[in-house]
């Protein structure tokens, strides 16, 4: 185990420099070797887990992949009885609900981050940041219950009628609003991802050197101009990363969306109509999947969802790393 090509940590290097003739004394006794072997073994469990995950999903999805090929992704017929499966509506619904969520969540979260780092009184920062981050601690299923009994009645009474009055002619607001809909799913997702985007954006903005602000202010900019022309552009990559991270969260969110989006297997542009997401389809149908092909199709849905979220998250990480290099920004739950 100890032959792995790993660099020694800085402290050992320092110690070696002090005793040039006897480097082997440090880090080479039995206890050290054992310790390192155990830790390496534990650490290896993560890559192994990822490999196992991909292999298991891939193997379980293989019958459906072979049967339908690329048709699976862009056809809309989902007929378990006839054994025909096309996942286009769920892929559409997943992306549509997540983008809708970003539409609401991004201004809100960036507003929170900018206010807390640039404008708020000092004593308010920690409490408000904590309260916003608490939104991330609320279980998804609790959001679902709240959405069904509080959010949907509220949307029906106070949001949809005025929205219709103004924008009712657009294709996005057609049809009867029963409650469970793309809109309800998007709004609940927005509330759920605000804490993630806000927390990461805040850390990105905090990482912007104060010389950026001072230079802008020194040239006569107002406080807002300093923020908008000097601070935000400096952290742009990180802020976009934060938004993409939020997108990743929204794409994979299951329970609240399953309870609110209406679970209708259809593609429609009206946000007042029910829709479906990949995660919701698995949650709803997995235990009902009676045939092997049906089960395999659901595994393929899971595999597609996994690949999309991995790609989105990797992109987000790379962008955040450009600003806050190497730190675990956004890896925390709260």
């Amino acid at each position: 185990m100890t032959t792995l090509p790993l660099g020694p940590p800085p402290a050992t290097q320092a110690a070696r420099a002090v005793i040039p003739g006897r480097p082997v004394l440090l880090g080479r006794n039995t206890g050290d070797r054992l310790y390192r072997a155990v830790l390496t073994g534990l650490a290896l469990s993560l890559p192994l887990l990822l490999v196992a995950l991909v292999v298991e999903l891939g193997a379980s999805a293989w019958p459906a992949i072979r049967r339908f090929g690329f048709r699976f992704v862009w056809t809309s017929v989902w007929d378990p009885v006839a054994g025909v499966f096309g996942a286009a509506p769920m892929i559409f619904g997943t992306i549509a609900s997540s983008l809708l969520a970003l539409l609401f969540a991004v201004p809100l979260a960036l507003g929170v981050a900018i206010y807390l780092t640039e404008f708020s009184p000092k004593w308010l920062r920690q409490p408000v940041a904590f309260l916003v981050e608490l939104l991330a601690a609320i279980p998804s299923v609790v959001y679902g219950v709240w959405g069904i009994y509080v959010l949907i009645p509220f949307l029906r009474s106070y949001v949809v009628p005025p929205l219709r009055a103004v924008l009712g002619w657009t294709p996005f607001l057609q049809g009867v609003f029963y409650g469970n809909s793309l809109l309800a799913g998007g709004v609940i997702l927005a509330i759920m991802i605000v804490p993630y985007i806000a927390a990461v954006s805040r850390e990105v903005l905090l990482a912007v050197p104060s010389s950026q602000r001072e230079a802008a202010l020194g040239m006569g900019a107002t406080r807002w101009e300093a923020v908008w022309t000097a601070v935000v552009p400096y952290g742009r990559a990180g802020l976009i990363g934060a938004v993409i991270l939020g997108l990743g969260r929204a794409l994979g969110e299951t329970m609240a969306v399953t309870m609110l989006i209406g679970n209708r297997h259809d593609i429609g542009v009206s946000v007042l109509q029910p829709a479906y997401t990949m995660a919701a389809a698995i949650a709803n149908e997995f235990s009902e999947a009676t045939t092997d092909l049906y089960l395999s199709a659901l595994f393929e849905v899971g595999l597609i969802l996994f690949v999309i979220t991995v790609a989105v998250n990797a992109l987000a990480r790379l962008m955040i790393w450009r600003v806050a290099r190497g730190t675990a920004v956004g890896s925390r739950a709260l």
């Binding site: 792995l4 006794n29 390192r36 830790l39 608490l134 601690a137 329970m255 979220t309 990480r317 675990a328």
Partner: protein
């Protein structure tokens, strides 16, 4: 003051107000959710809610004792599996993680951190439920542990890295072997931070539902056998919240309040740990 200057100052003031209002809206959302939980759930919290098991649909009364005990068992078991692996991985990343393997593990941890919990759920199903032939609390705990490990690993790494190098050098200079330095000096100094990460991790998985749908499954009866299907508060809330009976909705709100309380206690405990010990974390 020129008109242009005045306009710029008005814009600045207006935007300051806008971001302040947006912050207020975000906090308001939290207040509304917690407020409704208390308003709709608190009245149902009585003795029988905590000590009785569910009774047949349509009748009133009954409780969620089986779900409360089930949540505790499943979460404790998940922590038992996930915490050692997570902390060990985090220590590895902090102590030996500068090479290629370290980079890989770190990247994989971040990737797994963003993996949808439902995907982890069906993975645990293929891994444990399908071979065993039946649903079990154990498979649910494994699914939750999988969700927990990457998060714990990353926070542990971060906390261990905050320990000043001088401490390590002092211990090594005194002749401590590296493994004892790592465990007795470094990990111990970072203990408060590591503990915080663990509490936050447990808080997060305690509320998870999606990974348990096809693993722990849920159970109408009281059970403590980890090889049997087991009920949790989150599964109970899902069933009752989406069910047709008013009585179920009442119980769903109450169970949601209890689950929220449990998660909040863990999250606040995490904060308290950070505050009370040298504030090494933020």
């Amino acid at each position: 003051m020129s008109a242009r200057r005045l306009r710029r100052r008005i814009v600045s003031g207006a935007m300051t107000a806008v971001v302040a209002v947006l912050s207020f809206v975000a906090v308001l959302a939290l207040v509304l959710i917690l407020g409704y939980l208390v308003a709709k759930g608190a009245s149902s919290l009585d003795w029988s809610f905590f000590v009785k098991n569910p009774i047949p649909a349509g009748q009133s009364g009954g409780g969620v004792a089986n779900a409360i005990v089930g949540t505790m068992i499943i979460v404790a078991l998940a922590a038992l599996i996930g915490l050692p692996i997570g902390i060990g991985t985090g220590l590895y990343l902090a102590e030996y993680g500068s090479g290629r393997l370290g980079w890989t593990v770190r990247f994989v941890a971040d990737v797994l951190n963003g993996t949808p919990s439902i995907v982890v759920g069906i993975f645990a199903w293929t891994w444990l439920v399908r071979p065993m032939g039946h649903f079990s609390a154990l498979s649910g705990s494994v699914a939750l542990a999988v969700l927990m490990v990457p998060m714990i690993a990353r926070t542990t790494e971060e906390m261990v890295r905050l320990v000043p190098h001088s401490l390590r050098e002092a211990a090594l200079a005194l002749g401590y072997p590296r493994w004892r330095t790592s465990l007795r000096i470094i990990a111990r100094t970072a203990l408060a931070g590591i503990l915080t990460g663990c509490l936050v991790g447990v808080a997060r998985i305690a509320g998870e539902t999606a990974p348990l749908l096809f693993t722990a499954l849920g159970n109408l009866n009281f059970t403590t056998s980890i090889l049997q299907p087991m009920q949790t508060l989150s599964l109970q809330i899902f069933t009752y919240g989406t069910g047709p009976f008013d009585e179920w909705h009442r119980l769903a709100w109450a169970a949601a309040l209890v689950l929220m309380g449990l998660v909040l206690v863990l999250a606040l405990a995490a904060r308290w740990v950070v505050r009370s010990r040298h504030g090494a974390a933020r």
